[in-house]
């Protein structure tokens, strides 16, 4: 532990501008992996020499040489009226997966899960999925209509809705197509692209049941509702009345203490806990109560799961038990041998996470991870596990269990039933391979 800052021989890629022009040329010429191997050796050697010199000095320059922030006046309050992350965090942003879609208005931007802590997704990093672009809707001109099998078809303004008794609940939202690119084989490098259509927020709003009660919904005949958006696509999805009656479906305007962001449905969206994101209709303008499902475009052309027998499963909605290790994860390099905290996220659309097991040997042996509080129903649960990396190759996996007793399956188990072409609802165990150089990459273990 002594003189850790100066420890010689440390395996460290020195990513802070350690690439010279010659190095860049070498990468382009010889290929990235060859370069990395030699760069590690070079970087280690380069660090070793000054380390010896530093060890003989009085200590760490980061301590001995006072930095500007310790020796000058800082910025005043409200210099940033709406605060933004540090400039050093600028790499952690929503990103598209190149080539996935052709049109930005009908596309996906993924949440950088590799950089998140705890369970709450910062609102600015909440993943985006739009079907016909997004708008910043004037809340004064937004309306919610209730119609169909109700005694009184009604209209509410945002003023009306925000006066009603409100609740706040923490839930995950995951796109049904999350990890969909990986059904057949490894396709993307990092957890941002493999699992980043996942976010978890505190939502504030009114239970839809309260509003349907006001309108005199016919709960006997009306066993389905249709939710419809106010955007160009006016996206529609069928939702079971049982979920509405349980009180968990919310007509929400708040997210993480402020109003919803425009990309996430400002000023009003449906919250359907445990159900895939497409049913959380954004810019919500209408709820219809009916006695049959609607087979809308996003439940008859998309969001249908192709099975090996050529049949499509329709109205698949529940997001089943799933987990992923976010640190370390694909596209990263471990800084050093020694202690590491394996950390990840687990969630289930059926209820609470009860257990997460972690393997570092590709699934031969498992250890039970710590579940950090809070552990909430249909919310992300953070798990952690102590791990001492001995510098040898490893394959990291996590396996979650929920309170319905459902255990996350392997790729082999999942494909045996569902094949490789269903696109949606891939909740397989994720594997990250760690090489002796410390580089982590995406692999699939059956």
């Amino acid at each position: 532990m002594a003189n850790d800052y100066a420890r010689p021989g440390r395996v460290r890629p020195a990513p802070e501008n350690f690439l010279s022009d010659e190095d860049i040329a070498a990468i382009n010429k010889g290929g990235r992996r060859d370069f990395l191997r030699s760069a590690f050796i070079a970087a280690s050697a380069a660090l070793a020499a000054p380390a010896v010199a530093r060890a003989q000095s009085a200590g760490d320059p980061a301590i001995l040489e006072l930095p500007p922030w310790s020796t000058s006046l800082g910025l005043p309050v409200a210099a940033n009226p709406y605060g933004m992350p540090s400039k050093f965090e600028r790499g952690l942003v929503r990103r598209e997966s190149p080539g996935l879609t052709r049109v930005g208005g009908s596309s996906v931007a993924f949440t950088p899960l590799q950089g998140l802590f705890g369970i709450i997704t910062p609102s600015g990093l909440h993943f985006e999925r739009h079907h016909q672009g997004w708008h910043d809707i004037d809340p004064a001109r937004h309306r919610l209509m209730i119609n169909g099998l109700v005694k009184s078809e009604a209209v509410y303004t945002m003023d009306d809705l925000m006066r009603l008794p409100a609740v706040s609940r923490i839930h995950f939202i995951e796109c049904g197509a999350n990890t969909g690119m990986e059904w057949g084989n490894v396709a993307v490098p990092t957890v941002q692209y493999s699992h980043g259509m996942l976010s978890c927020s505190e939502f504030t709003g009114v239970p839809l049941k309260l509003i349907l009660d006001m309108c005199g919904a016919d709960y006997k005949k009306g066993r389905f509702i249709l939710a419809e958006g106010a955007d160009g696509s006016s996206m529609t999805r069928t939702i079971p009345m049982e979920m509405v009656e349980s009180g968990e479906v919310l007509v929400a305007y708040g997210m993480n203490g402020e109003m919803l962001r425009p990309e996430n449905g400002y000023p009003l969206r449906l919250v359907v806990p445990g159900v895939q994101g497409v049913s959380w209709v954004k810019w919500l303008r209408r709820i219809e109560v009916g006695d049959q499902p609607w087979a809308s475009k996003d439940e008859a052309v998309h969001y249908i799961d192709l099975m090996p027998d050529g049949q499509h499963r329709q109205y698949t909605s529940t997001q089943e038990v799933k987990s992923v290790i976010t640190s370390p994860s694909g596209g990263q390099i471990l800084l050093d041998r020694g202690f590491h905290n394996i950390s990840g996220m687990a969630w289930s659309g059926r209820g609470k996470i009860t257990r997460v097991d972690v393997s570092t040997d590709g699934g031969i042996n498992w250890r039970e991870a710590r579940l950090e509080t809070p552990v909430l129903s249909k919310a992300v649960t953070r798990f952690n596990l102590d791990w001492v990396w001995d510098g040898k190759a490893a394959i990291l996996q996590s396996r979650a269990t929920d309170d319905s007793g459902h255990i996350q399956a392997s790729y082999g188990q999942l494909r045996a039933v569902r094949g490789t072409k269903s696109i949606y609802h891939n909740n397989a165990i994720q594997s990250w391979k760690v090489t002796e150089s410390g580089e982590v990459s995406n692999v699939q273990v059956l």
Binding site: R95, V186, S234, T236, W294, T316, T318, G412
Partner: protein, 354 residues
């Protein structure tokens, strides 16, 4: 909604009987919807054709509308894979007989077209009516939707070329949909009541379950798939997508040289945002053809023409067809004159990404 409730509502509004409802518990909040309001928004069409408006349209009229409003994204024959997955293709006459699309099993068609998947013709009417065309949703009349759907059904060889689709014969068309028997709800992912209890599916029973084994669970680890180099490099420099502090760093990947070469081309960033926002990039790539020519191709063709700016502004605002192929460019009426001018100047200055 049922006609009964609409009638009831009208009576109640006329008689001022709203106080009879449960609005009492939260007085002052919400109001009754008028029949006109409900009609304006309740445009959904169910598989049993509840909600289907009366009307008709034929294949020929549909073709004219299609080429003007739809072909730029979906191709003249609904076959294009350039912007969206194909609407038409991969179905056969035998599928219309069986109601099962054989290509979903024998993989004889490279994509899954809309007609290979959709089981319900109501879905197509509903979606075209509510969301199409892409840049002008809800602008089509009911008869326009009938005509466009008739044209699509003819392309998919579900109806003949002289067919007139109406609210009265759409149920006959349903009986010929190629994948009408291709859906199953026998699964555990419906979060409501089971089919046996008036809902959908098996009541939430999972089809796949993992195992809880903790030690010596297998004798070997079979890595079935690993990340190809190109897939890592295709996502840019991962070193810049990770935090510069903590237990890990991102690996360096992608085109390093590109990262260092970002230069601001006066105002170009704003124009890039504009062409993205206005949907131009759906059909034109910076350096590649998508549906229409890449901006680089436009530049190469017109850079020496003296009136290039005025000519191209005219093409943008009025549309055109034939210069770059058969697929027409629709008039871009949603652009102001100033926006069209800025975009054309940006194209003629080299269409830099930033």
């Amino acid at each position: 909604m049922s006609r009964f409730y609409k009638t009831l509502m009208t009576i109640l509004l006329v008689s001022g009987a709203s106080a009879a409802f449960a609005f009492d518990r939260y007085p002052g909040l919400g109001r009754l919807a008028t029949p006109a309001e409900v009609t304006a928004w309740d445009i959904d069409v169910r598989p049993d054709f509840t909600g289907l408006p009366q009307g008709s349209g034929n294949v020929d009229d549909g073709m004219v509308l299609w080429e003007a409003k739809c072909a730029s994204c979906h191709g003249i024959f609904g076959e294009s894979n350039e912007v969206f997955t194909p609407l038409v293709g991969g179905t056969r006459a035998s599928d219309i007989e069986s109601g099962h699309v054989a290509a979903l099993i024998d993989n004889s068609f490279p994509q899954r077209s809309t007609f290979m998947k959709v089981a319900t013709v109501s879905t197509l009417f509903d979606y075209i009516k509510r969301a199409m065309p892409w840049t002008e949703p809800k602008s089509l009349s009911d008869d326009d939707v009938y005509a466009l759907l008739a044209y699509l059904l003819n392309l998919a060889e579900v109806v003949p070329a002289d067919f007139v689709l109406t609210h009265e014969n759409i149920a006959d068309v349903q009986a010929r949909m190629p994948n009408r028997n291709g859906m199953t709800t026998d699964h555990g992912m419906w979060p409501g009541a089971s089919a046996a209890n008036g809902g959908i599916g098996n009541g939430g029973k999972p089809d796949v379950n993992g195992d809880a084994c903790m030690s010596n669970c297998k004798t070997e680890v079979l890595v079935a798939s690993a990340l190809p180099d190109y897939a890592q490099d295709a996502h840019g420099n991962l070193a810049e997508q990770n935090r510069p502090v903590g237990p890990v760093r991102g690996v360096s990947s992608g085109d390093q040289a590109e990262a260092g070469a970002s230069v601001d081309h006066s105002g170009a960033t704003a124009v890039v945002a504009l062409v993205n926002a206005k949907g131009c990039m759906a059909c034109h790539g910076l350096a590649n053809k998508i549906v229409g020519p890449g901006y680089n191709e436009v530049l190469a063709k017109y850079k020496d023409r003296a009136d290039a700016e005025a000519y191209l502004i005219g093409k943008v605002t009025s549309g055109g067809q034939g210069v770059w192929g058969a697929v027409p460019m629709p008039p871009q009426g949603h652009l102001s004159d100033d926006e069209a001018r800025r975009i054309v100047q940006w194209v003629l200055s080299g269409a830099q990404a930033q």
